[in-house]
């Protein structure tokens, strides 16, 4: 009988699996990605390597010396500290390579009303911190719909089959969102931010991502030196509108390889794919699936690819305190297999 190995589910709970079961989960995760996204499967030696990572009894694992990658963050800080104190914590104590100043109401629409105060915070951050500090928030297109915004609520129109009205509402929201994102980004750049992050782009579907791409295109044209990061919300862009295109490419339905091309075309300098976990499956299953989905864009990318490996993405368990055994396995798996530029 095979010995049981302690491993994790993607909801963070400990479980036990045999080596064969872990291998089967790794293969199943890859096949799920192949089936859904029509990507190539991982190579046999890559699966072998993942098996060694996930079948290890070690509490912690890490990449080889020399294989370290850049760590970019969203939302750096801690509730136990003030905002600048939180950034200093990450710089001085948590070995961050870059930082993000953000507002708790993490939406460009919300931040627009507070821009002067965010500018002050960024000014202080740049005076007290040495490592790069960018500003980040979310496009959050849904905020532009009723009751929070001026546009009709397409989430309510769609079930009523009022498709044309739903599309028109999203197109109206896109225009408003682009204005807000450009306004905030330029304001923070003006006081010395090292760059801008558009987090969870595409969260409200293809219109959400279109707004982000257009904002980035505008910013790139006006500010050739601006660092711009686009982090995605999910592995596939939902077609809430369905007919939107960016430079001739339909946005709805794009997987990471397609998303990366759009992001690069718009003028971003870092692309962050996101693959959401299935909490009912193991960490091994989720990680192998995520790697298979993202692998196509890593070699082809002309800009850095930073896999999103926060809570519930990239194979990291969906838990408020993700266990370090699971997190470190995802780190090593992503770096070793994808040869990506950061996490």
């Amino acid at each position: 009988m095979e010995p049981q190995i302690v491993t994790r589910m993607a909801d963070g709970t400990l479980t036990e699996m045999t080596r064969s079961e872990i291998r089967r989960d790794l293969e199943d995760g890859v096949q799920e990605a192949v089936r859904r996204a029509k990507v190539e499967p991982l190579e046999a030696d890559e699966l072998d390597h993942l098996l060694e990572i996930f079948a290890s009894p070690a509490r912690f694992t890490a990449v080889d010396i020399g294989d370290e990658v850049m760590l970019s963050f969203d939302g750096t800080g801690a509730p136990q500290f003030d905002r600048i104190g939180g950034l200093l914590l990450y710089e001085q104590c948590l070995a961050a390579d870059s930082l993000e100043l953000f507002h708790q109401d993490y939406s460009y629409k919300a931040v627009k009303t507070l821009v002067p105060h965010e500018q002050m915070a960024m000014k202080h951050a740049q005076e007290r911190l040495t490592i790069p500090v960018h500003y980040g928030s979310q496009p959050d297109l849904g905020r532009y719909s009723e009751p929070d915004g001026p546009c009709q609520n397409w989430s309510m129109l769609l079930p009523e089959l009022r498709i044309d009205e739903a599309r028109a509402a999203q197109e109206q929201a896109v225009e408003l969102a682009v204005d807000d994102m450009v306004h905030v980004a330029e304001a923070l750049w003006e006081v010395g931010a090292d760059g801008i992050n558009f987090d969870t782009a595409g969260a409200a579907g293809d219109a959400d991502l279109l707004a982000t791409l257009r904002a980035v295109e505008t910013l790139r044209a006006r500010h050739p030196d601006m660092g711009i990061m686009i982090g995605m919300a999910a592995e596939r862009v939902l077609g809430a509108h369905g007919q939107l295109t960016y430079k001739g490419t339909r946005i709805a339905g794009q997987w990471p390889a397609g998303q990366q091309k759009l992001v690069e075309e718009a003028g971003a300098t870092i692309y962050g794919p996101a693959v959401n976990v299935n909490t009912g499956r193991s960490g091994a299953w989720n990680t192998s699936r995520a790697l298979a989905l993202v692998k196509p864009c890593c070699a082809a990318a002309g800009i850095p690819v930073h896999m999103n490996v926060g809570m519930g993405v990239g194979g990291v368990p969906m838990h408020t305190v993700p266990p370090i055994d699971a997190v470190s396995r995802v780190s090593k798996a992503c770096v070793d297999v994808l040869r990506l530029d950061g996490l």
């Binding site: 370290e68 040495t130 809570m311």
Partner: protein, 108 residues
């Protein structure tokens, strides 16, 4: 969680040269291998040294790039964050936004 990723796979930030590589990636869209080669070349160190905090603390002190403030070893006469970033900008030949604006305000 950030600690786990940093220890498992990170370049070490200001403990080593992670922030320098980060600047090239963020500002120039430079991929990791190219960014490491560039930074190592400008610093005059081996690429493997970039994530070695023992090697990089010496290099950072030598070039005035800022160091971690440890309780056992305060660096009262080290450059301030703004000074360090000015030095980083010069060393990497890379405009840093806040330094560019500071210089403009000061007429430098």
């Amino acid at each position: 969680m950030p600690v786990a990723h940093a220890v498992a796979a990170g370049m070490g930030g200001m403990r080593a040269a992670g922030d320098l590589v980060a600047r090239l990636q963020m500002a120039k869209g430079m991929r990791l291998a190219a960014a490491k080669t560039y930074v190592a070349g400008r610093l005059g160190v081996a690429e493997r040294d970039l994530s070695d905090c023992a090697a990089m603390q010496e290099a950072r002190a030598e070039h005035g790039l800022g160091q971690i403030y440890e309780g056992e070893a305060p660096h009262a006469f080290d450059p301030s964050p703004l000074e360090a970033k000015a030095n980083i900008s010069r060393l990497l030949d890379l405009p840093i936004n806040c330094i560019t604006r500071l210089d403009a305000r000061r007429g430098a």
